[in-house]
Amino acid sequence: MTGSSETIELTLPRSPRYYGVARMVIGGLAAGIELSYDALDDLQLAIGSLLDNRDLPGGDTVALHVTVTGDGVSARIGPFAQGSMAAAFAGSSASGGIDLARLLETVVDEVVTDGDGDGDWIVVTKRAVAAA
């Protein structure tokens, strides 16, 4: 891995059996950019929560695009059903519980949702804190 931004794409069956593969990939990539154990665990929790989220319907497979930059890791996950992302986030602040929005906002640095012809996508970013 060289350069300032590189992406690895992974397509997995939508089954918990394969989510460990995604976590391993994230872990392997994080090792190269000095992401801390804390940050890595947070990112893995976020990605695991998205992959295994029953409120986000999608097809038989889920794609994970992991982009490693000099200062962190971004993961774009989808596609989910059109409009499902908005529904999953809607009213989350009113629930008072640990819903998807609160979970992601707590454990990652940035959450962005977007959509294309295939459906909804979500991008979560975790930045590495420079090891002093």
Binding site: M24, G27, G28, Y37, D38, D52, G96, G97, I98, A131
Partner: protein, 297 residues
């Protein structure tokens, strides 16, 4: 429980034992437990020595059997401390007996220590290994299990030393392992079915904390923090005990990091991670059982 036939011991009629606390040595967490004291067999230490010499020097299996009989009360006393964690007492006695037999077999009669001193950590160690091995939900190679346990300790040490969370590279260096091995070992930790907070962390990532880690929590503080926050009323929280709620409260409502929670609660960071995942899973199950699932892990 599957064990070799040779290791099976029947804890039948037990000789009486003296009601005095045994000095189990520094760092033996069972000795730190507020539960009943460990009891020392009432027989004379001279008898131990005679039997040990007969076994080790003359090869007397009868002497070995007699030693096992004499020490069964100690095994039972130690096993009882772990019996509330979902295992049958008799199973734990059997496991503890294996530790006792190992201690008897490995005992060096020329060293000036008592068999009780040597046997106690062996018995406890065998019971803890039993819990640790049974704690893995899927078959994980022993080497990875051990690296995972080692990493748990290293995360704590390096976090203190570096005053920040260590990187994978730093963990690899400290563990004398490759980065790939570290990533793999951390992932295997997902296969560990963490016990409830209220059940302590026996055989868990620390392999050393057998008392309820949340005994260290100040009760008034716990009650204040949780009940004053609406989190306790949050959907699905009812499925958690108060202590689990406290952990999630600290993470998701107070914004503490895992390492900060670990420090506050007095358990390892890796244990906090597992407990958070497990608690989130339980909330999800609770919500799904009610027909709603606004949260998912």
């Amino acid at each position: 429980m599957t064990r070799k036939r040779d290791d099976m011991i029947t804890a039948g009629s037990l000789p009486p034992f003296e009601d005095r606390t045994l000095d189990t040595g520094a760092g033996t967490d069972a000795a730190d437990s507020p539960q009943e004291p460990v009891r020392k067999p009432s027989h004379d230490g001279k008898l131990d020595r005679q039997l040990l010499e007969r076994y080790h020097r003359d090869g007397s299996l009868e002497a070995r059997e007699q030693l096992i009989e004499l020490y069964l009360p100690l095994v039972r006393s130690l096993a009882r401390r772990y019996a509330f964690r979902g295992e049958q007492l008799e199973d734990l006695v059997q496991v503890g007996c294996i530790g006792l037999i190992k201690a008897i077999d490995r005992f060096d009669v020329d060293r000036g220590v008592e068999l009780t001193t040597y046997a106690t950590p062996n018995i406890i160690g065998e019971i803890k290994r039993h819990f640790r091995d049974k704690g893995w939900a899927v078959r994980v190679p022993r080497g990875l299990q051990e690296l995972n346990v080692r990493l748990s300790r290293l995360v704590e040490e390096l976090t203190v030393q570096l005053e920040r969370s260590p990187t994978v590279a730093e963990l690899a260096k400290a563990a004398d392992a490759t980065e790939e091995e570290v990533v793999e070992a951390l992932e295997t930790g997902q296969a560990y079915s963490s016990v409830s907070l209220s059940q302590g962390q026996s055989g868990g990532d620390d392999d050393g904390g057998d008392s309820d880690p949340l005994d260290t929590l100040g009760a008034p503080e716990l009650q204040y923090d949780v009940t004053e926050d609406r989190a306790i009323l949050a959907p699905g929280f009812a499925a958690l005990d108060q202590r689990e709620q406290y952990i999630l409260h600290l993470r998701f409502f107070q914004g503490l990091t895992q390492s900060q929670i670990a420090s506050k609660v007095g358990i390892s960071q890796m244990h906090v991670s597992r407990l958070i995942r497990r608690s989130l899973g339980r909330i999800r199950e609770e919500l799904e059982s009610r027909g709603g699932s606004e949260f998912d892990d």
